[in-house]
Amino acid sequence: MPEFLQWSFMQNAFLTGTIIATVAACVGYFVVLRHVAFAGHALSHIGFSGAAGAVLIGIDPLWGLLAFTLSAALAMGLLGDRLEGRDVAIGIVLAFALGLGILFLQLYTAYASEAFSILFGTIMGISRAEVVTSLIIGIAVLLGLGVIFRPLLYMSVNPIAAEAGGVPLRLLSALFLLLVALAVSEAVLVVGVLLIFALLIAPPATAMYLTPRIYPALGIAVVLGVLETWFGLIMAYYTGYSASFFIATAAVAAYLLVRLLVWRGVIGIRSTRLTAQPATADAA
């Protein structure tokens, strides 16, 4: 066993980090596919206010996070599946929630350090009980995603055909946002509100540059997210700087590296053609 894993706080950090990176990558695959990154971003910031409120009334910040993100996700889902106007509505909800968050902080200045850890994550200070909580939430999210996976994919690719085929667009997009809210609330524990994209968006976005296949892309996203998290934890252990910083740096570096290599043509998706003859030749 490596030296850093002898400490129970590091064991807890690795366990939680692995669970959360896995869940965030799977949910993030659909966040990227459905272009709802702004909703994910907003949910994390709304979660900040929830966590601040929880600290204020003296309960576990996770419950505040969950309460705020889940109700915000429901509100966003009810706003409908149409993208037009939705970003504006999300922005307005976000502004209100952040305003509340600032008020909560001012009311309880004694908890400035709590606010700091909500914003940037507390992965090194996680208890065994919190590991169990994140495992339970993680399994619930993955099960939920597994249940709605196929119609969610269908409506993300062909919304009109899916609707005609009987897929309830509004209900499914609301359910999906609830799963995003759960995943985001969890991920805040590791990387904090401000760096949520490091685990939610960067790994699946990177994976999608590497393959157009669904399960391989999901697998690559999970492996990337988990490796980046482990890297961040080990670096934090040896340097004493924030794990969130290293995780975010690794995620961005991997993304940029892949884009560079794809751009240079070293790796990436080949456009396979079985025949040399193009299918749509010019009209005579």
């Binding site: 269908y154 085929g165 456009s271």
Partner: protein, 274 residues
């Protein structure tokens, strides 16, 4: 006003109609978009749905899919009242676009046509793969089905959409402008594919287009829509100067030459002078 049924249905009278639309009016935003429309479509019918922009063609397809309710009249599919999400109907929407950032293989999208509406994980199976391969060959898209859809040309994407609609073995196929953006050869290919599917499987298809010419020789019936009103019949019966003049409400000339039909009017032609 009532729609003129330009022809009786002697040949297929013994068949039950696949689609039966009776005196249907559809209002959208308080305005009648389809007005007192009646027609019937039988197994084996290749129907062209023609009309200018805003005539209500897409609305008519959405009506048959149960996505917009009729404010008057009745619609029945396969002899039953309309239901949403009927899996005996295959549909290719108008203006489907795939964006660059979501790479997904054409074959994965086509497979969603089998059971995309069903909960659970899409697990690959030999049976499904064989089915996907068969329909990809049928529409001539097997060469590029493993590429990300977003990288394919509009015509190639159109064929994959057609494959997705066909893979559920529909009895009614609704195609909204599948010929838009296609060159002459691809247009002919798509019409031929659709035509042979209709003949082989004895299903019905409604294909929306702006121009009758690509469909001449393949389609059995044409529905001409204008101002929410419509005429149905064989192309020879409907595409006539007097019929279309009455439908459009202004003088229309129908000129037939060398197997082509030109529908034109004195009102055509721009007015932007140098």
């Amino acid at each position: 006003m009532a729609v003129r049924e330009a022809q009786q249905q002697p040949a297929l009278a013994q068949d039950r109609p696949i689609v039966e639309v009776e005196n249907v009016t559809v209002r959208l935003g308080g305005r009648p978009v389809l007005n007192d429309l009646s027609f019937a479509i039988y197994p084996g019918d290749f129907v062209g749905l023609i009309g200018p922009n805003g005539a209500g063609k897409t609305t008519l397809l959405r009506l048959l899919l149960g996505l917009v309710p009729p404010s008057n009249g009745t619609v029945s599919l396969f002899g039953h009242p309309l239901t949403r999400g009927n899996h005996r109907v295959g549909y290719v929407p108008q203006h489907q676009t795939f964006d660059e950032t979501s790479p997904l293989r054409g074959r994965d999208m086509v497979a969603l046509g089998i059971d995309g509406f069903r909960l659970g994980l899409p697990l690959p199976s030999q049976e499904k793969t064989a089915k996907v391969n068969r329909v990809l060959r049928e529409v001539g898209a097997d060469a590029y089905a493993d590429s990300p859809i977003a990288r394919l040309s509009g015509g190639e994407q159109q064929r994959l959409m057609l494959a997705q609609a066909l893979i559920g073995d529909p009895d009614l196929l609704l195609l909204d402008e599948p010929l838009a953006n296609l060159d002459i050869r691809s247009r002919r290919d798509v019409v031929n594919i659709v035509c042979s599917v209709v003949r082989q499987r004895n299903i019905a298809v409604i294909l929306v287009a702006h121009d009758v010419n690509p469909l001449l020789g393949s389609m059995d019936k044409v529905i001409y829509l204008a101002h929410g009103r419509g005429v149905i019949g064989t192309p020879d019966e409907v595409v006539q100067t007097d019929v279309l003049t009455r439908l459009f409400g202004f003088p229309v000339d129908v000129i037939r030459a060398q197997g082509h039909i030109l529908v034109t009017s004195a009102e055509e032609g721009g007015e932007c002078h140098a």
